[in-house]
C-alpha cells in the first residue's frame, strides 16, 4: 500500500513537471512575454503578488464571495435535497428546475445578474446558481440510496425521527454531500472568477485578471490563474480532510 502511495505521488509530481516542461518549450518557441511568458518569470510575478499590499484584500474578497455562495448553496441544497429525496412528488417538481438551471450557460446568468445586481453580488449569485444544483442533486440521490433495511430496523426499534435523521440518514449521505460539495466548489470557483471578470467589483481576482489582460500583462493573468488554482486546491483538500474527520468509520474499515 505504502509502495503504491509513493508511486502515485511520483506520478503526480511527474505530471506537474510535464506541464512545466511543455510550458517552458512553448515559451521558448514563441519567445514573447506577451504570448507565453517563461514559467520562472511567472512564478516571480506570483511571489510579487503575494507581497503586494492589496493581495490579501483581492484574494480575500474572491474567497469571501466563494464562501458566501457555497454556504448558501450548501444549506439550501441540503434542505431541498433531503425533501426531494424523501418526497417523490417534490422531487418530480424540483428536478426540471435544477436541470434548467444547470443547462443555462453561465454567461447568460452573468449577463442577467449584471442587470439585476451590484458588481460585488454578481459573483455570489453566479456561485449560488452553479453550486446549488450539484449539492441538491447529490443530497437527494444520497437520501434515495439509504439502505431501507437500516431505516426499517430503526423504525422497528422505535428510535425517534430526529435520531433516525441524525443517526441513519445523515451519516449515509455524507459521501454524497462531500462529492456534491467538491464538484460544486470545482465549478463554483470558475464561475465566481468569470463573474468578477465581467462585473468588475473593486476587489477580486477576476477584476485583477481583466486589468492585466487589458494591458497585455500575460504573466500577471497566468499568475492570478495560478493563485485561483491554489485557492481551489486548498478548499478541495479541506473538504477531503473534513471527509476523513467525519467518516472515521470508513477510514478505520
Amino acid at each position: 500500500m505504502k509502495r503504491f502511495i509513493t508511486k502515485k505521488r511520483i506520478l503526480n509530481i511527474a505530471s506537474v513537471l510535464f506541464l512545466l516542461v511543455v510550458w517552458k518549450i512553448l515559451a521558448l518557441y514563441f519567445h514573447s512575454a506577451f504570448i507565453i511568458p517563461h514559467p520562472e518569470d511567472t512564478f516571480v510575478t506570483v511571489l510579487q503578488l503575494f507581497t503586494d499590499k492589496d493581495f490579501l484584500v483581492v484574494a480575500g474578497s474572491t474567497v469571501l464571495r466563494g464562501m458566501v455562495g457555497f454556504v448558501i448553496s450548501f444549506f439550501l441544497g441540503l434542505a431541498v435535497g433531503i425533501i426531494a429525496g424523501i418526497s417523490p412528488g417534490f422531487n418530480a417538481f424540483i428536478t426540471p428546475l435544477l436541470v434548467t438551471v444547470r443547462s443555462v450557460p453561465v454567461i447568460s446568468l452573468i449577463l442577467l445578474a449584471l442587470i439585476w445586481f451590484d458588481p460585488g453580488t454578481v459573483p455570489v449569485f453566479i456561485a449560488f446558481l452553479t453550486m446549488f444544483p450539484f449539492i441538491c442533486t447529490n443530497v437527494s440521490d444520497g437520501i434515495k440510496s439509504v439502505d431501507p433495511g437500516l431505516v426499517e430496523m430503526a423504525v422497528f426499534y422505535k428510535v425517534n425521527k430526529r435520531r433516525i435523521i441524525t443517526g441513519v440518514y445523515l451519516p449515509a449521505i455524507v459521501p454524497f454531500i462531500i462529492s456534491g460539495a467538491s464538484s460544486a466548489m470545482g465549478i463554483g470557483w470558475r464561475a465566481i472568477i468569470i463573474g468578477e471578470v465581467l462585473s468588475q467589483p473593486v476587489y477580486g481576482i477576476g477584476t485583477k485578471m481583466q486589468v492585466a489582460q487589458t494591458f497585455l500583462n500575460v504573466d500577471a493573468v497566468i499568475a492570478w490563474t495560478l493563485i485561483a488554482i491554489l485557492i481551489s486546491f486548498v478548499f478541495e483538500k479541506t473538504i477531503r480532510w473534513g471527509e476523513r474527520k467525519i467518516e472515521t468509520w470508513r477510514v478505520a474499515s
Binding site: 439502505d147 433495511g149 437500516l150 426499517e152 430496523m153 430503526a154 422497528f156 426499534y157 422505535k158 428510535v159 425517534n160 435520531r163 443517526g167 441513519v168 451519516p171 449515509a172 467518516e247 468509520w249 470508513r250 478505520a252 474499515s253
Partner: protein, 242 residues
C-alpha cells in the same frame, strides 16, 4: 393459557400478495417466555408471518391477541448494523434516550461482555466477521427492553461451528432474561438446537403440519443423540409433506 403459561394468539390471519394467498385463516399460539420455532421451506410464508407480528406489514384480516402494548426486538437475517457506528454505538442506538446515559452505557457494556465482544466494542461492523456482526445484532435485540424477540433465519449463511456458538451465546443471554422468542428457519438442526417448541409449516396457503415440544434443556442437547435424531426424522418427514 397453556399449562399455566400466558400465551400469545394469532387467529384467522389472512394475507395475500396479489393473487397469491400466503396465509388463510391461520391460527397459532406462542407460550410466553419460550422459544418457538416456525420451521418450513423457503417461500412458505414464515417471514410474512413474522413481519405481520412485527408490524412491518399489515395483515388483510385476523387477530393478534396478547401482542398489544408488547415491545418487540428483531434479529434480522442480515444483521442490519449501522456501518458508521461501533459495536457499542449500534447496541446503544436502540436504547431510549429517556434512560440516563450512564445506565445506557452500563447496560451496553454488560451485553457486549455477555456476547464476548469486549475487545471489539470500538470496532466498526466492517471490521468484524459475519458471526460477530450477528452477535452484535443479538445483543442489540436483548438491549431493547422488549417482551418478544423475533428472529428471521439469523443463522443463515454461517458455518456449522459458528451456528452452534451463536446458539450458545443466544441461550446464555436468554437464560438470564427469558423473553418470548419467535424464530423462523428452514434448517431442522437450528430448530432442534434452539427451540422449546417447533411448529412445522406447509407451503402456502400456510397451515401447521405438526408441532413438537422439546423438553430437554437446549444447552444439554446433543444433535447426535438418539432422542434428537428421532425428533429430527419426524420433523424432516413433516417438512417434506406438501
Amino acid at each position: 393459557m397453556e399449562g399455566g403459561i400466558m400465551s400469545l394468539l394469532i387467529r384467522n390471519l389472512n394475507k395475500s400478495f396479489k393473487d397469491v394467498v400466503v396465509l388463510r385463516d391461520f391460527e397459532v399460539t406462542f407460550p410466553e417466555g419460550t422459544i418457538t420455532c416456525m420451521l418450513g421451506p423457503s417461500g412458505c410464508g414464515k417471514t410474512t408471518l413474522l413481519n405481520i407480528i412485527g408490524n412491518l406489514i399489515p395483515p388483510d384480516s385476523g387477530e393478534l391477541i396478547g401482542f398489544e402494548n408488547k415491545m418487540l426486538s428483531y434479529v434480522f437475517q442480515d444483521p442490519r448494523l449501522l456501518p458508521w457506528k461501533t459495536v457499542r454505538g449500534n447496541i446503544e442506538f436502540v436504547l431510549s434516550r429517556d434512560i440516563p446515559s450512564d445506565e445506557r452505557e452500563k447496560h451496553t457494556e454488560q451485553l457486549i461482555k455477555q456476547v464476548e465482544l469486549e475487545g471489539f466494542a470500538s470496532f466498526y461492523p466492517a471490521q468484524l466477521s459475519g458471526g460477530m456482526r450477528q452477535r452484535v445484532s443479538i445483543a442489540r435485540a436483548f438491549a431493547c427492553p422488549s417482551d418478544i424477540i423475533l428472529m428471521d433465519e439469523p443463522l443463515k449463511g454461517l458455518d456449522a461451528g459458528l451456528k452452534k456458538n451463536l446458539i450458545l451465546w443466544f441461550l446464555k443471554l436468554w437464560k438470564t432474561d427469558r423473553r418470548t422468542v419467535i424464530f423462523v428457519t428452514h434448517d431442522v438442526d437450528e430448530a432442534l438446537l434452539l427451540s422449546d417448541r417447533v411448529i412445522v409449516l406447509s407451503q402456502p396457503p400456510t397451515r401447521i403440519l405438526t408441532h413438537m415440544n422439546i423438553e430437554q434443556p437446549a444447552e444439554e442437547r446433543d444433535p447426535g443423540s438418539d432422542h434428537l435424531l428421532k425428533i429430527k426424522r419426524e420433523l424432516l418427514q413433516a417438512v417434506t409433506v406438501r
